[in-house]
Symmetry: C2
Subunit: 233 residues, 2 copies
Amino acid sequence: MSLKNGVALVAQYPKMPITVDCVIFGFDDNELKVLLIRSDLEKYQGMWSLLGDIVNESEEIDAAAYRVLDQRTGMTDIYLDQVKAFSRPNRHPGGRVITIAYCSLLNIQHHSLKITDNELHWHSVSSITEMAFDHKEILETCHEWLQKMIQENPVGFNLLPDKFSLRELQNLYEAILGVDLDRRNFRKKFATMDLLIDLEEMEEDVPHRPGKLYKFNFEKYNKSSRKWVGIDF
Amino acid sequence: MSLKNGVALVAQYPKMPITVDCVIFGFDDNELKVLLIRSDLEKYQGMWSLLGDIVNESEEIDAAAYRVLDQRTGMTDIYLDQVKAFSRPNRHPGGRVITIAYCSLLNIQHHSLKITDNELHWHSVSSITEMAFDHKEILETCHEWLQKMIQENPVGFNLLPDKFSLRELQNLYEAILGVDLDRRNFRKKFATMDLLIDLEEMEEDVPHRPGKLYKFNFEKYNKSSRKWVGIDF
DNA sequence: TTTTGTTTGTGTAATATTTACATAATATAA
DNA sequence: TTATATTATGTAAATATTACACAAACAAAA
């Protein structure tokens, strides 16, 4: 066996399938949602699972995750991050499969539901008790990841419609973090960060005094060298 | 093909080898160090690489990382975290190999060097220009991970001897973060955190006024529900 | 034994950030 | 017109962060 280029070496390695699983978060009805699909394994009949797929022979894992996302939601330019690999040897009943979990945040309004079929459904994260495979664990890990992420980076905007009120923004933070936030301090925080553009429009069809609508200042965020100061209430 | 338990399904998946690579950080001589081994591939002759190994058929990836660590340093109870998977299809010249990077922090004094052979060496992180495979990229990712980690959690103690002076602790932070810190503010921060136990001993053999020696208050850290307030200078 | 060089140990004032908290205004629904 | 719900807004207190200087301890050299 030659180590000249490692080919012979690699040929002897044990091999196993790798998948990616996407935890696709959305926000609707003041709740954090996750997009799930019915498991196609008899063992998990009726149970819900994350959206995943096998990683192809010459495919980067990031690319595989984007592919899953595109296949399921038709969306391409969305937030996506690698979170963690899960490797329990018997996590898949069909044999050993290592999976790499990705988190994506998407605006439920934006994606024209290919998702009318009842195999795919937005679930309220807080109401999920059981999932196929080890997907509950993966979901929990990704939820914790998101809680941390949203406090350190302005990624929450990816979950909201283009126009949103401060109340909606606060609801988003409260839903993800599972805490109540002080409204005046919350608004002050965002006001000083200069990341919101006042659209000079108001909410409509609300049964109370309507709030102003804002959009996220992407320009500002991308150009600014100024660090996101974080949400820490 | 039955989906009864997914066996047939999994059997058709493309398979690939998985490795773990450990970025083993140490601290010595006021520099952040990383433990590297000479590459055994001809293509990378003379170049240095991370300490890695294949993941066995039924082995958890975490277990594989601990195994690598134990094999190379003889240490078992040390800090280790999964950082990220790297998957560029041609990252290994022998064929497709996905690797999962782990970070470990270890006290160089503690491990009785099995490492006298010249295939294994502690390198100053800042002086490394080139590495085998994509290991430079992995190292950089892990260094950034460590920079973030050490500001959010008191993990730095894993890199220091049992007894250390505040100056050594500060040197550690400065070396990892690549910044200069204000001495009085640094000391004040740690004083208020109550994580250091004054050993009532002094440094010896220093050519200047000796400093007090401290040890890390593990009790305090483990029991306390109080959050680590972070280092943010 | 004195002097020099180096590093330790310590406190305060100025600034910035975080927290807690209440009232008037605007819309819809009844 | 009134009741209900929610928006918009500011201030004072507490806490955290930053910038900064001098005396004391030891070793080494004179």
